[in-house]
Structures are given as C-alpha cells and as structure tokens.
C-alpha cells in the first residue's frame, strides 16, 4: 500500500525508463497538490455527507423493529434527503474539477512501476469509475431516466460502499501528498499574469455555487424562483404538491373512483369495512407536514383526515401495533408499515391544501406521517392491517 521506498530503487531497463516520443506529456502550473488537496478535501466531505444521508434514507425502507423511524423532527427526512440530493448534484462539477487537477497523472511514465504502483493505480480507477457512475446514475434517477436493466435502488446502495471504501483507500495511499498539498499555499506572489491556481479555485467554486443555488429550489421553496436548473418545481404539482407516480401510471384510475370502493380495517379483535361516505364522515384532524421524496424534492402542505390511530384503536390495536397500509396499486410500493411515534401522528389524509385529495395524490385516501420518505406515504389505501 505504501508504494515508495525500495520498489523505486529497482533498476528498470532504459527503454522502459524513458518516455517514448508518442506518449502524451503535458503539464500545467495550475495543476498542483495544493489545488488538488483543497478540492479533494471538499469533495471528501461531500461524499461523506452523501454516504451518511444515504444510509439514513435506506433505513427508512427497512427499519429494525426495535428502532422504528421516529416522528420527530417531522422535517428530518426532508433535511437529510435534501442534503443528499443537492450535495450529490454539486459533487458532479466538484468531481470534474478534482479529476482535471490530476489528469496529467494518468499519463505518468512508465505506466506501471511496480506491483504496489499498479495496485495504487487500480484503486484510483475503481474510485473514479465508481464515483462518476454513482453521481451520474443518481442524477438520472432524479430525472426518472433509467436506460438500464439493473435495479437502481440496490445498485446505488451497494455501490455507495464501493465508493466510500475506495475513497478511504485513496486517502490512506495519498495521505502524505494530501498533507503536503494542504500545507502549500495556493496563492504565490510571483505568479505570472496568466491563469493562477487561485483563479482556478475561484472559477471552479463559482461554477459549483451556481449549480447549487439554481438546483436547491426543489428543496427550499423560497429559492424556487432562482431554480433555473432545478429538475422539479414542487409548487407546480396538482394542489401545490408534485407526485412521483400518477394514478394512471399506477393503474388505479378506475378502482379508486369505483362505487364499490371499500376501506377494510383488519385488527386483532375486529374487521370492518367503510364505504367512501362513511370514511368521509369520520371525525377529522388537521396537520401540516412535508412530502419529502427520495429524489430530493420536498414541500410542506396542509392535510386533513381521520387519525390513523383512532381506527387502530377501534379494531383493538394501539400505538405499539405494527400497522400496514395496502394500496389499490400493485408493485414495489403497494404497501408500507409504521408503528410507534410515527403511527401516533399519522393521518389518513382525505384533503390536501384545503381541497379534496387529487386522484394523483392518492384519492380517496392516503397516508401522511412525519419524517417519512414520500414513497412510504402510501396512496390509494384500500386496506389497513393491524398486528
């Protein structure tokens, strides 16, 4: 892992030691460990943030039974997933800047000096490949663009371990160079009037800042007007909230509006069915909670509807029951479960922002609970199981 030392002293044959004339050689005074280490430090922190917030998001899908997702802070998922996606998008220009600063090293001669050197270069190849892949496919997911056959969720999750592992390995290998680079000054008084290292950092920083500022509007509504590069504009959705899956895409348009619609509540002591009119006649509560999507957008909204816990009590359950909500739709997100404090604060929403819930938002009734990923706020609910 430590490639210097004895291996360097091994005498290679002359024709290997000398760079052949066809081999590209370029250098720029702008590329220096001082710049690379500074950009790398920011990128490393950003990758760490993405990894931790990604783990938190993953936990939403499969929490341990003894550690359910808490209801407070109600904006928790909104914050962590907003950070995950905005940081991830900003990492794309950041990574380009970082890779530019070391591109000349791709053409070192000889390409491989020793076994240790070949391993070092291999680890860089894994890091670069996994990082570019992770950021670009992550962005494609936000754009709902899937030009591949593998499952995004699992690949993105397992690949994040490869990225963070190869980052740790890279830091281990480069630590002396990183420390040297950070100790070196970026600005030098003797610089020529041409491009300077400081200029590169300022220009790169400006580019990254513009990307962040023009995409963050999908998380912070106040900044939506300057969200020139934001993929989503949350306020433009029906009733002021976007959807990720329409009723048509979920193939529930007919079922959700059918006169035969029933909401079944199945508990340990009782099973009963509610017709639409009976569901709408239940006593209702009001709450203000965000819809926060795994794709990073989020928006706060007003919700009205019966409290889920009231129905759970009626069939003999309580707040420590495991409650599953089953949708009219089939597929990956056709059911979700909750318990504990999330259950205590959950509503069966029939109204959104003062209007009867839109079909695309889950008419006739959907779940809304605090600190919960959007895909788990089950829509078009037809059955509630209390165990």
């Amino acid at each position: 892992m430590v490639p210097t030392g004895q291996t360097e002293r091994v005498q290679l044959p002359t024709f290997v030691r000398q760079r052949p004339p066809f081999w590209p050689e370029f250098s720029s005074p702008l590329r220096s460990p001082a710049v690379t280490a500074r950009v790398g430090r920011v990128l490393g922190i950003a990758f760490g943030l993405c990894f931790v917030t990604g783990l938190l998001s993953h936990y939403q899908y499969a929490p341990w039974h003894w550690l359910p997702i808490p209801a407070a802070p109600y904006w928790g998922y909104r914050l962590t997933q907003g950070v995950h996606v905005i940081t991830g998008i900003s990492c794309i220009p950041l990574l380009l800047l970082k890779l530019w600063s070391v591109f000349h090293r791709l053409f070192v001669w000889p390409p491989v000096r020793s076994v240790a050197h070949s391993l070092e270069r291999g680890s860089v190849a894994i890091l670069v490949s996994a990082s570019v892949f992770q950021l670009i496919t992550g962005l494609f997911n936000i754009l709902q663009f899937y030009p591949w056959h593998w499952g995004f969720l699992r690949v993105h999750y397992w690949m994040s371990w490869v990225v963070i592992g190869s980052l740790l390995l890279h830091i281990a290998i480069q630590l002396p160079a990183i420390r040297e680079g950070l100790a070196d000054r970026v600005w030098r008084s003797g610089d020529s009037p041409g491009p300077s290292r400081r200029g590169v950092l300022i220009a790169g920083g400006a580019g990254i800042a513009v990307v962040t500022a023009t995409t963050i509007g999908q998380v912070i509504p106040v900044l939506q007007p300057i969200g020139l590069l934001a993929a989503r504009q949350p306020r433009k959705g029906p009733q002021g909230v976007p959807v990720n899956r329409t009723a048509a895409a979920a193939q529930v348009v007919r079922l959700a509006q059918s006169p035969q619609y029933r909401l079944t509540v199945d508990g340990p002591h009782l099973l009963f069915e509610l017709k639409l009119a009976e569901l709408e006649a239940l006593p209702i509560s009001q709450t203000s909670l965000p819809i926060a999507c795994v794709e990073g957008w989020s928006v706060q909204a007003d919700w009205h509807g019966p409290r889920l816990l009231d129905l759970v009590h009626r069939v003999g359950g309580n707040s420590s029951s495991k409650v599953s909500l089953i949708s009219l739709e089939h597929g990956a997100y056709s059911r979700s479960s909750l318990t504990g404090s999330q259950l205590e604060h959950a509503l069966l929403a029939t109204h959104l922002n003062g209007q009867r819930l839109d079909l695309d938002h889950g008419y006739p009734v959907r779940l809304i609970a605090p600190d919960r990923a959007g895909v788990l706020q089950t829509k078009w609910i037809t059955k509630i199981e209390v165990r």
Binding site: F103, P195, L229, T246
Partner: protein, 159 residues
C-alpha cells in the same frame, strides 16, 4: 489538535493510520462488491460492469482530452492576462453546463405534468446563466486592465 498533528508527523503513527484506513477501505469495497454479486438477479453484474467501465471512459477518453485540448488552444492563441479570464469563465461555464446539458437532453421526456418534473426551458436558462458568467468575466477583465493602466501611468514609487 496540535498534539494530533505532532502525532501524525511521527512516521510510525502515520503509517499505522494509513494502514488502518486502507485496510478498512479494502474491507468496505469488498463488502459492496460481494453484495453486488450475491444480489446478481437485481444488480445484473455483467451489464453493471459495462456501465462502470463506460463511466471511466466518458471522463478519461472524452471529457478530459476535450478540456485539455481547449486549454492547449487557449495557451497558444490567447495572451496571458486575457487567458486567465477566458479560462476562468470557461471553467465556471463548463461546470454549470455539465448539469445543464443533461437537463436539456431529458427536458419534456417525462410522462405526466403532475410530476412537475423537467418542465422548465433549460436551454434558455442555461444560456441566461452562461451570459451572466460571460458578463461577469468580461467585467473582471476590464477592471483588471484599467487598474494596470492606472498603475503604469503613475511613476514607480521608488524613483
């Protein structure tokens, strides 16, 4: 902090730290790869490998040579001081465009309006942002030129 720094400066402890970090890194990579392989039905490793190699090549064989080619042309044909600003403008604009072109490419390709997804005119927005960058760069260049003219006009301080 100073103590940590002193400890780290000690070659022995830095070596231990690097060994530990590297060891953890290799284990974590191994864990990720193992799970990608055991989950093969969902992760489709043979297609995934093509994507990973492709990701490396998109950067190393397309983006990077392009950027270096542009840099080389600039260094040949544009004088130093102007080049500093042209290059800075291109770096800022290029990084913004990296996100912008992907949005332009996918614009209008989503199924339903209620997604509120990709419904902006990203080409127009990118052009606005690039115009702002160009104007800012030009402004900085003009300030630099007028400043150095003023300095030249004055007699040097040491005479």
């Amino acid at each position: 902090m100073a103590e940590l720094d002193r400890d780290l400066n000690h070659p022995g402890s830095q070596r231990t730290l690097r060994m530990a970090l590297g060891g953890i890194g290799i284990l974590v990579i191994g864990y990720g790869v193992l799970r990608l392989l055991t989950d093969a039905k969902d992760t489709k490793p043979s297609e995934l490998v093509v994507w990973l190699v492709g990701s490396l090549l998109v950067h190393d064989a397309i983006i990077a040579p392009l950027v270096i080619g542009i840099g080389w042309l600039l260094s040949r044909y544009v004088p130093d001081r102007a080049r500093a600003f042209v290059q800075a403008g291109l770096v800022t604009g290029g990084l913004i465009s990296a996100i912008g072109v992907l949005l332009i490419w996918r614009q209008g390709k989503t199924s339903a309006r209620s997604l509120a997804l990709l419904q902006q005119n990203y080409l127009a927005h990118l052009l606005v942002l690039l115009a702002i960058v160009a104007a800012g760069t030009l402004g900085c260049y003009l300030i630099a030129v007028s400043r150095s003219n003023r300095t030249k006009a004055r007699p040097p301080a040491d005479q």
